[in-house]
Every structure is written in structure tokens, then in C-alpha cells.
């Protein structure tokens, strides 16, 4: 579906907007999560063909011309693992945020002055 790709890309743009303009570090991580959802939507949409069904056989389906009835299973398989990895990476970023707060006592990224001059 063409609209689905546009929705996913709108989510990607909104996530980038959040990451680039917000100051709170937790808000930046939320932006990353939104980008994640959008990219997953786009990749799954790449494997979709209109009028077809999920690639799971049931009793009563005729084996033989299955490739005319099923959608592409490869993007689903990619996204399946990517979602779990996304959760682990989000947890890692949040742990970094907690440690930064412990050291600096603030979540505002404008207050971190080590890399500024």
C-alpha cells in the first residue's frame, strides 16, 4: 500500500524532528522509538502485495501455486528480529541517560558542556 509507506515515512520525519529539536534526553530516546516504528512499517510494506494473505499454510490450502497467494516472507523475518534488537538498544540508551543524570543532575542536553567551546 502506497499510503502505508507515506505513513511510515511521516513517522520517520516526526522522529527526526523530535531528536533534533527537543532538549530533554528522554524525549530524544522517544524520538528514536518513533523512527523505529516508522522504519519497520516501511520495510514490512515492501513485502506486501495487494490481495494476498499471510505466508502461513493451513490445512486445506493447495501446495503448488502458493507463490501466487502469499506475501513476501523475507521482510517479515527481518523486522521480527529488528524489533527485539530495538528494545535492547532502547534499554541501553536509557541506561546511559540514567548514568548521565547521575553525573550531571540534569536531563537538558544544552547543559552538557564538555564538547562545547
Amino acid at each position: 500500500m502506497r499510503e502505508m509507506a507515506f505513513l511510515g515515512f511521516a513517522l520517520v520525519l516526526l522522529g527526526f524532528w523530535a531528536m533534533l529539536t527537543r532538549k530533554n534526553i528522554l524525549r530524544i530516546i522517544i524520538g528514536f522509538t518513533i523512527i523505529d516504528s516508522g522504519i519497520h512499517l516501511i520495510i514490512v510494506n515492501l513485502g506486501y502485495l495487494p490481495g494476498r494473505t499471510a505466508p502461513i499454510l493451513e490445512k486445506g490450502m493447495r501446495v503448488g501455486d502458493l507463490s501466487k497467494h502469499f506475501v513476501d516472507p523475507i521482510p517479515s523475518a527481518l523486522v521480527l528480529t529488528a524489533i527485539v534488537i530495538g528494545l535492547a538498544v532502547t534499554a541501553l540508551m536509557l541506561v546511559y541517560a540514567v548514568r548521565i543524570y547521575e553525573r550531571k543532575r540534569t536531563l537538558n542536553i544544552d547543559k552538557y558542556r564538555e564538547l562545547k567551546w
Binding site: 513517522l11 523530535a18 522517544i30 516504528s37
Partner: protein, 84 residues
């Protein structure tokens, strides 16, 4: 019917993303992120990918909210210990 539900869900997803970016309270933003995952999993089902929908349902609405809330809870505890 499928297209109607797609449009309604898409509009809700975009509004939830804007709410997640601009809400004043951070807990509201976390809840909106959960709503985005919730509705995106229905869209995965519309795209005929039930495996992905199941993963997103199990991770997005439960565990991601949980991880964010644990981290924010630690930050809140550090702040309370410093103040009091």
C-alpha cells in the same frame, strides 16, 4: 472498510506521535509511545504479517513502556534523594 480503518488509525498514530513529542509531562509522552506501538501492530496485521504484529504487540505496549518507566523511576529517585 479496510481502507477506512487504515485512515482512521493512521491519523490517530500521527496525532499520538505529535503528542509524544510535545506533551509537557514525560509520562504522557511514554504512554503515547505505547499507543503508537499498539496501533502500528494493527497495521502490521493489515499488511499480512502476523508474526511481526505479535512481536510488536508483546514488546511495544508492555515492555517498552516498562523500560522507559523503570529508567524514569531511577531518575526520579536520584532527584528525590538529592533534594531531601
Amino acid at each position: 472498510m479496510i481502507m477506512v480503518s487504515f485512515y482512521i488509525l493512521g491519523i490517530i498514530i500521527l496525532l499520538a506521535a505529535i503528542l509524544a513529542i510535545y506533551a509537557r509531562n514525560i509520562v504522557t509522552a511514554i504512554i503515547s509511545t505505547g499507543v503508537i506501538s499498539l496501533l502500528v501492530s494493527i497495521l502490521f496485521l493489515l499488511l499480512a504479517a502476523p508474526d511481526v504484529a505479535m512481536t510488536e504487540a508483546a514488546i511495544g505496549s508492555g515492555l517498552t513502556t516498562m523500560v522507559f518507566l523503570y529508567a524514569y523511576n531511577r531518575i526520579r529517585r536520584i532527584r528525590e534523594r538529592n533534594d531531601g
